[in-house]
Amino acid sequence: MVTKAFKDLAILNAAKRGMPHERITFTPHPVSGKTPDELRAYVEGNDPVSGKPMMMEIVDALTRPLSEDEKKTGMVPINVGPPSFKDTAVNLQEYFLNNGMTDFLPIILPTEETVDAMLKSTSHKPDEVCGKMAAGAYPPWEFTVKQVAVNAVMAGCRPEYFPVVLAIASSGTPSLFSSTNSFAYAAVINGPIRDKLNMNYGIGALGPFAQPNATIGRAWTLLSKNLGNGGIPGDTYMGSQGNNLNYNNAIIAENEAASPWTPFHVQKGFKVEENAISLFRGLGIVPGQGARGTSTDTPKHEEQFSDLFSVFTGFFGGLVIADPLVAVSLKSRGYDTKEQLIAWLYKNTTQSVKDYKSRDFAYGFDYPRALKGLEPYATWYKMPDDAMIPRWPHETDINVVVAGGQTNAFFQGGSLSYTVSISIDKWT
């Protein structure tokens, strides 16, 4: 049984898993938040897709003999079209747009020449398998270095950016995901490559002010669509409202020179002189301004971070994106390392057990873990409703990066979980 909103997704995912004729009965959508009387009316009513009585359809699905199609075995290939297309530039732009291959902005057309130029920025062979990707619960698609290059060209990347795009692609992480929660993605770039590519980590670091910041993130979304088959509304994308960050994601080059703390990639085991990209996934980024005490001589940014995080679900991690002015201020007040700041935030950003249990993420993910005895969920679910618990299960759910041009002691907070760091050097 599936609610009507997921009709196409249910049929297509069943097909991708080998059962294109799966017998599915649909209910009205949504079922969450409905009273028992409303749900009883659903059950006693009709399947909103077929128009037939729902329960009779279920009984029929369980008892009607199988058709020959439903008994079929064998392999079915998937057709994604020819290797190339030939037409005028105008028509090709329109074709790519109409066939879901773009982000609905004009693209750079990927000719053999432009793709070859991109491929010259890596030592890896064009036909080498770079990775696999799926944007939901279906078998992942595979792609080569050359197929990544095609998408990098489309996004407007210069050839020298290509190793960064390959590193992202190799992670298999899509920047578009099928969840109804409209996920957002971010990447933190560290190492000398930031300067080599002229990335912006100063004034307007997160804005549209530098080609690598803009196009690397755009390439991530295009390759998620084309190489991972993501971003098809109703099929591989179900985000109810969508997320504006999905256009080119939050590409954050850390301002290592102005930061008083260890660069993010070094925290993850890389050397300072190495180049790495670290990926984050979550719900989005919100601004924070006006640290408590700013008008006195004791600004307390850590308390403001905590206030900001108190509106986030703890399912995803917390990412502090601090301007260097904020980081320097915190260091002057005793936070010598990012880890010290993180420890304070973990201890002081709390929630009641009652609030925690009422969150849908807790019900869907943490409660089953609690039933299995996994900590801290098992303990949290045994505590009284008025007990206070941390906002996040683990201290490692909080991360800190430094970016910005020091025009304001500004900061932003991401409801974003760190997922993985990838070597960029490996893809040069």
Binding site: G18, I78, P368
Partner: protein, 135 residues
């Protein structure tokens, strides 16, 4: 959109799936709605798509001749509201098909996590299962 059209858009060949003479979607010819066409200005560009795996068809499980005297499992996958809907379905079975034994189970783990122990239990003790997905 009906199932046949959906599967065609997926790139699955209806000819192979449906036993009909229809062909899978083809991208050989580029159809443009603006009508601009000039062979002199043509360029060739590469397909940006990755490579999907072929799909291994799985034959569906044989059906029951009747549900009377059989055990049907109702499986809550954990999406909010799914369990409450299944409770109403259990009530419906008890009222309208009392000869059916209905067992309600919450699948272990988050939505997408496998629960082999439950599948084993259903195979051993049940005759059919209904899963509720969506919220």
């Amino acid at each position: 959109m009906n199932r046949r059209k959906l599967l065609s858009l997926l790139g699955m060949s209806p000819a192979l799936l449906m036993g009909s003479g229809a062909e899978a979607q083809s991208h050989k010819k580029i159809a443009s709605s603006n009508g601009i066409k000039s062979a002199a200005g043509e360029i060739e560009v590469l397909n940006p798509k990755g490579t999907p795996p072929a799909i291994q068809l799985i034959p569906m499980a044989p059906r029951l001749d009747t549900l009377d005297g059989k055990t049907v499992y109702l499986v809550d996958t954990g999406f909010e509201g799914g369990g409450f809907l299944l409770n109403q379905i259990q009530i419906w079975f008890n009222k309208n098909m009392p000869k059916v034994t209905v067992v309600f189970k919450r699948k272990a783990g988050p939505y997408a996590e496998d629960d082999p122990a439950l599948w084993k239990e259903i195979k051993e003790k049940g005759n059919a299962a209904i899963m509720a997905i969506g919220h």
